[in-house]
């Protein structure tokens, strides 16, 4: 699978990564090479195969709906960029 410059920029945007021009160049080469190798999977017929997402076989692990203490608010905020009135303070998110 060949990756072009536009694809690198699109995937970088989805990934929230800002790449420099040399980084984009290298990323294009690396991703192309790796994805080309991964095309080997296409030689395996898998139409009748179910995807295996979980190996442990556990399903729908529930607990009783009983409220338990969570974390102390100050602890969760101790690493924040900014905090105000017990909340994370962030740049404006909606116009």
């Amino acid at each position: 699978m060949e990756i072009d410059r536009k694809m690198v920029e699109y995937v970088a945007e989805l990934s929230k990564l800002r790449l420099t021009e040399p980084e984009k160049e290298l990323m294009q080469q690396d991703l192309s090479k790796v994805l080309q190798y991964m095309d080997i999977l296409n030689s395996l017929p898998t139409d009748e195969v179910e995807p295996l997402t979980h190996v442990s076989g556990v399903e729908n692990v529930f607990r009783e709906d009983v409220a338990q203490p969570s974390f102390a608010r100050e602890k969760i905020l101790q690493n924040a960029l900014a905090a105000e009135e017990g909340c994370f303070k962030v740049p404006q998110t909606v116009e």
Partner: protein, 489 residues
């Protein structure tokens, strides 16, 4: 000279009154002070280790605590959350990060009286096979400081090999416990997926990650695994009703009736001939103890690396989206708006290998490519599992190399990512299907670098694997070899 003693020997020395937990801890701290400048096994040391050891000594004297880990020092990989020390995953984006909670395995170690010496170096976010992608610098292999210790749990492996800890915890997503053990002459276990709680393990690939023990001997690994394994309601993927008892497994070296499979196609081209020779010799040793060794084929290995990297990178791209510069970790000094904050934090905070894997994963999950890559890889994963299920219907365990070569030299691996990924060929299938595997030393190359082998079992077959490994270690002494260390200049 307590460095290079097993945890069992250290514990016995305390019981016999020859030493104390505090004295042992101080001896390890002295070893770290002497050698870690050369090998860089640790990112952070526990300032309170000696004090905590003294507290354990008081409990031991009062008969309040016992068990194989009581008073024993342990090193833990820097992707395990600790409240008392930073947890950085060897990444700039988590520099200085203090977790608000301890990982479940950390709580279990503390309850067992183990003394945490510090947080060990690793590949950034566990992404790598050499510990060279670490933001804090590369770790050196104690057997030859010009070579890598392996990765991503290279710091943990090097710490044990260099006598800077008798035991360590690592994590294994695609071989990150087993391969550094092989490169450093140690024994390690990747437990069955679900056997050990992942609560507090900073996630790389959530369907693949497991925490496991690293030590000189399988006996030490088994004792450590027994402490950390078990159901945790905080990890919904952990297995209910699980507990291990390795007592019988560790005492019996009669392997008659055991049937072991050796995949012929795993050997030959692409594998260092010295490693093939060592693995075959190990099979002969196991046969001499009564096991039947049968050669057979496991052709799906051809597809393991691509399937693994698509799934691991896809899961990683999702897991690492939490590093946004807001809640914790690296905060950029200035930013124009929300978008700029995300881009700046992540671009300045992540290293190149992490960015590469995030990009690969995001691509594999993106609209238009999701079926061809991610879904396809999951289907191949199902086929790989079928092949293992079929093998385990025949064999009690599968014998395998751990890596195609011994430890590479420093600064040779990062320029060709694909070649680096391909070196994981013997380890990734185990994580894809969730089965347990033990890595143990079985020889040395002519150049003096350790060689390891793997024993793979079906789900929850840890006791059987420990038995095989213990029988081997009762009749060989590879695990008793220690390197000659380089002092700081």
């Amino acid at each position: 000279m307590i460095q290079y003693e097993t945890a069992v020997a250290l514990r016995q020395a305390c019981i016999d009154g020859q030493t104390t937990a505090q004295a042992q801890t101080e001896a390890y701290l002295a070893q770290i002070a002497k050698y870690d400048g050369v090998y860089h096994c640790y990112n952070t040391l526990n300032e309170k280790a000696a004090e905590q050891a003294a507290a354990v000594d008081a409990k031991l004297a009062a008969g309040e605590i016992a068990g194989p880990l009581a008073g024993v020092p342990v090193a833990i990989k820097d992707n395990l959350a600790t409240q008392e020390m930073t947890t950085t995953c060897s990444s700039k984006i988590l520099e200085g990060f203090i977790s608000p909670y301890d990982a479940t395995v950390v709580q279990k170690l503390q309850a067992a009286g183990a003394i945490i010496l510090g947080k060990t170096n690793m590949d950034e976010f566990a992404m790598g096979s050499t510990t060279e992608t670490s933001y804090t610098g590369a770790t050196k292999n104690p057997w030859n400081a010009g070579h890598v210790p392996g990765g991503s749990s290279g710091g943990s492996a090097a710490a044990v090999a260099a006598g800077e800890a008798p035991l360590a915890l690592g994590s294994d997503t695609g071989g990150s416990i087993r391969q550094p053990c092989a490169y450093c002459g140690l024994t390690g276990i990747k437990p069955t997926y679900g056997a050990v709680s992942r609560y507090g393990l900073l996630a790389y690939g959530s369907s693949l990650d497991q925490i496991g023990p690293m030590a000189y001997t399988v006996e030490d690994c088994a004792n450590l695994l027994q402490v950390i394994a078990g159901y945790d309601e905080k990890d919904s993927t952990s297995t209910q009703g699980l507990s291990f008892d390795f007592t019988n497994a560790l005492q019996n070296d009669d392997l008659r009736g055991k049937k072991l499979g050796l995949p012929k196609n795993y050997l030959g081209e692409g594998l260092d001939p010295e490693i093939e020779q060592a693995v075959r010799a190990a099979c002969e040793q196991l046969a001499a103890l009564g096991a039947e060794i049968v050669e057979f084929e496991m052709p799906m290995i051809e597809y393991a690396v691509p399937a693994y990297y698509i799934i691991a990178c896809a899961e990683a791209s999702s897991n690492l989206s939490r590093y946004d510069g807001i809640k914790y970790g690296y905060h950029p000094e200035s930013f124009a708006d929300l978008e700029d904050l995300y881009l700046t934090a992540r671009s300045q905070g992540f290293g190149p290998e992490v960015k590469r894997r995030i990009m690969l994963g995001t691509f594999a999950l993106s609209s238009g490519y999701y079926d061809a890559y991610y879904q396809k890889a999951l289907k191949v994963r199902a086929l790989i599992k079928q092949e293992f299920d079929k093998a385990f219907a025949e064999y009690d365990a599968i014998v395998s190399p751990v890596a195609p070569t011994t430890a590479p030299k420093l600064n040779e691996s990062l320029s060709d990512p694909l070649a680096m990924y391909l070196s994981d060929i013997y380890t990734v299938s185990v994580n894809l299907v969730g089965i347990p595997a033990v890595s143990l030393p079985c020889g040395f190359s002519a150049a003096g670098l350790p060689i390891g082998m793997q024993l793979l079992g079906r789900n929850f077959a840890e006791e059987g694997l420990v038995n095989l490994a213990q029988a081997y270690q009762m009749h060989t002494d590879w695990h008793a070899k220690r390197p000659v260390l380089k002092e700081a200049e």
